[in-house]
């Protein structure tokens, strides 16, 4: 469930089964298994916006368990051929690049505000 929610926050849809399996396996393997567990279930049950929360937590603490979970899933997703175009720009698209980054800047500001509000609501420090 956790893999699906993070995958949805990153890519807008559920994680493929293989990624779900790999993510679960990663959590059972050192050093992830040794890392303090974060209980995302409560946040997921309440429908919290994990992407907003991750950004807000990352802005206050660069290394934190939520960002680490996101990063683990990014690694697993990035090596899949179906995600290649999400990560690698093969053709020159300068105006599109600037426009997309500009829109993401605005979106990130909104997510940051939302994330900070969620941190207060869910009592996350």
């Amino acid at each position: 469930m956790e893999a699906n929610h993070i995958h949805r926050a990153l890519f807008g849809h559920d994680a493929p089964e293989e990624v779900q399996r790999q993510y679960a396996s990663a959590l059972e393997t050192p050093p992830l298994a040794d890392w303090p567990r974060v209980n995302l279930d409560r946040l997921i049950d309440r429908g919290a916006d994990l992407e907003a929360l991750e950004l807000a937590v990352r802005r206050s603490r660069r290394r934190n368990a939520l960002t680490q979970r996101f990063q683990v899933l990014c690694y697993l997703a990035e090596v899949r051929p179906d995600n290649f175009e999400r990560f690698v720009n093969e053709r020159c698209r300068r105006p599109a690049g600037w426009l997309i980054l500009g829109l993401h800047l605005l979106r990130s500001l909104y997510k940051l505000g939302k994330g900070r509000w969620l941190m207060r609501v869910h009592d996350i420090r």
Binding site: A9, L10, F11, Q22, A26, T29, P31, L32, W35, E51, A52, E54, L55, R58, T67, Q68, F70, Q71, V72, C74, Y75, L76, E78, V79, R80, P81, F84, R86, F87, V88, N89, E90, R91, C92, R93, R94, P95, A96, G97, W98, I100, L101, H104, L105, R107, S108, K111, L112
Partner: protein, 529 residues
């Protein structure tokens, strides 16, 4: 007991080239010698990721690893991109068990692989100049024949350009490795402003790499697969294992693998080398007339201290401190990523102005050949925005890495503790004003960056250690060597790796380590007639 006229400890760049110099005399090389697993990757890094399907290589196994090796830095930020890939982990395998350390402010990286750390190097080989050798009891002329011999053997690509005055002779170089669009853009802008930049101390040029641009010595030319972070032993990218294997195959040296040398004792009958089998733990003794220590700067120091049963003396520890400055080319945003370039080096730069601690060498990298997830969360956007940034910003990113020189100080030292661990203590140097100056110079070239994004790497991260048993004209005490590498108060123990470097200049020391090892081995051969 096994006997040999000459024993060499270690088969990294120094040990291998000491063995190469002595190849007619059949030296015995003792080494732990971990080896790489074969990689199934064949083709270009990006093409494989784009088109991989059933029947192709298992990208999860090759790029992430069954033990999630590539995720190492999510939890411990100490391994460079060329050390953490699943097939590259053999380079640092076993180090924590075979040579445990207690480190303060020092990320000690050691290798017990055949070929040593050079399995994961960027393959940059730069000659020391007279400036770099200031303080050494040897000169460029002493090293020159060995630099030339290695150039001929290994095959070094590069060019005679603005950096030749800092890199020494360009004799025997192969044509340079081709640059991608971002590298060409830097050089084009530099050329347009050369006079002004040179006046202010900045010089930019092509790297000198042990990367073949045409077939050489039975190895094929580089194919621009951009797989340096994931596939070990690309025949085009030199590692000392190629020479080691060749020497063994030809029967020109004896090679004993799986052996960890612990100490030596010297008597009138010769030198006894005490070692331990890595597989069984069984103690073994070897006997020789001359012993050449080339186990890496830290391990060589450990063997010498242990042999003297010395848990008190603090030996000097030198490390090439580094800082890195990320830069963005606004014209590169949204550009196509260079997918067929050599990823472990792009350009070199040297700062020779008044703001640095002498000459400061810099490596300029593009962000290619790694997974974006390595740095994805360094971007300031939300996670989804960061993925877009990885796609559109990566082609515009440059990383300038500055290497600082180092000299012995009272605070930075190596000591052998009574429990047999190495104590490493290092005090970081204060931030240099050079970083802001270099940033200003690259701004003039059109690159954007901020001093706040400049990152000082933890000491030790460079893997360039040296200086524990320095060469001097007149050695004092038991922990200095003479100019030929002979350890003081011994009759036949020589130090042939960076442990005998007197100071560490900013310039990369790999080439000089190899050339100096050959020079010392040559001398050792002559002492035996």
């Amino acid at each position: 007991m096994t006997s040999a006229e000459i024993i060499i400890v270690g088969a990294g760049p120094s040990g291998t080239f000491a063995a190469y110099q002595l190849r007619g005399r059949g030296p015995l090389v003792l080494d732990v010698g971990y080896r790489a697993q074969e990689s199934a990757l064949d083709g270009n890094f990006y093409e494989l990721r784009k088109t991989s399907s059933a029947g192709g290589p298992d990208l999860f196994a090759e790029l992430i690893g069954p033990g999630f090796e590539s995720l190492h830095n999510v939890f411990h930020a100490s391994l460079g991109p060329r050390l953490k890939g699943p097939r590259m982990r053999f380079v640092t395998r076993g180090a924590a068990e075979l040579s445990p350390v207690v480190a303060q402010n020092f990320d000690a990286l050691m290798s017990f692989a055949a070929g040593g750390m050079a399995n994961a190097w960027g393959a940059g080989l730069y000659r020391f100049t007279a400036d770099d050798l200031a303080g050494y009891p040897i000169s460029v002329l002493d090293l020159e024949p060995y630099y030339d011999a290695i150039t001929a053997k290994v095959g070094i690509s590069g060019a005679d350009d603005d950096l030749s005055r800092f890199f020494g002779s360009a004799r025997g170089l192969l044509p340079p490795v081709a640059l991608g669009a971002s590298g060409r853009a830097v050089l084009r802008r530099y050329t347009q402003r050369r006079k002004s930049l040179n006046r202010r101390g900045l010089y930019i040029g092509l790297p000198r790499l042990a990367v073949l641009t045409r077939d050489h010595d039975g190895r094929r030319a580089y194919r621009y697969d951009t797989l340096e972070c994931f596939r070990p032993n690309d025949p085009a990218v030199y590692t000392p294992t190629y020479t080691l294997d060749e020497l063994v195959r030809r029967g020109e040296i004896l090679y004993e693998r799986g052996v960890l040398v612990e100490r030596y004792t010297e008597s009138s009958a010769g030198i006894s080398v005490l070692a331990r089998s890595c597989a069984t733990g069984e103690r073994r003794t070897f006997h020789c007339r001359r012993l050449i220590l080339a186990a890496g700067a830290l391990n060589t120091a450990k063997i010498v201290l242990r042999s003297n049963d010395d848990h008190v003396t603090r030996l000097p520890l030198l490390d090439s401190n580094r800082s890195s400055i990320p830069l963005v080319d606004p014209w590169g945003i949204g550009g196509a990523l260079d997918r067929s370039v050599y990823s472990a080096a792009m350009l070199r730069a040297v700062y020779a102005g008044e703001h640095g601690p002498g000459l400061t060498h810099m490596a300029v990298y593009a962000s290619v050949g790694t997974l974006c997830s390595d740095y994805l969360f360094d971007f300031p956007f939300s996670a989804r925005g960061n993925i877009a940034a990885a796609k559109y910003l990566t082609p515009a990113l440059l990383l300038v890495q500055l290497s600082y020189p180092d000299a012995p100080t009272l605070t930075n030292h190596v000591r052998l503790l009574p429990d047999d661990r190495l104590e490493l203590r290092y005090t970081s140097k204060p931030a240099s004003p050079l970083e802001s100056h270099v940033l200003g110079l690259f701004r003039e070239l059109g690159y954007l960056g901020a001093l706040g994004l400049c990152r000082r790497l933890t000491p030790g991260n460079s893997c360039r250690y040296a200086g524990a048993l320095p060469m001097t004209t007149t050695p004092v005490g038991p922990y200095q060597t003479d100019r030929d590498g002979l350890l003081s108060r011994t009759h036949g123990v020589y130090v042939a790796d960076a442990a005998n470097f007197t100071v560490l200049p900013s310039n990369s020391h790999s080439f000089t380590m190899m050339a100096n090892a050959m020079r010392i081995a040559d001398h050792v051969g002559r002492t035996l007639g």
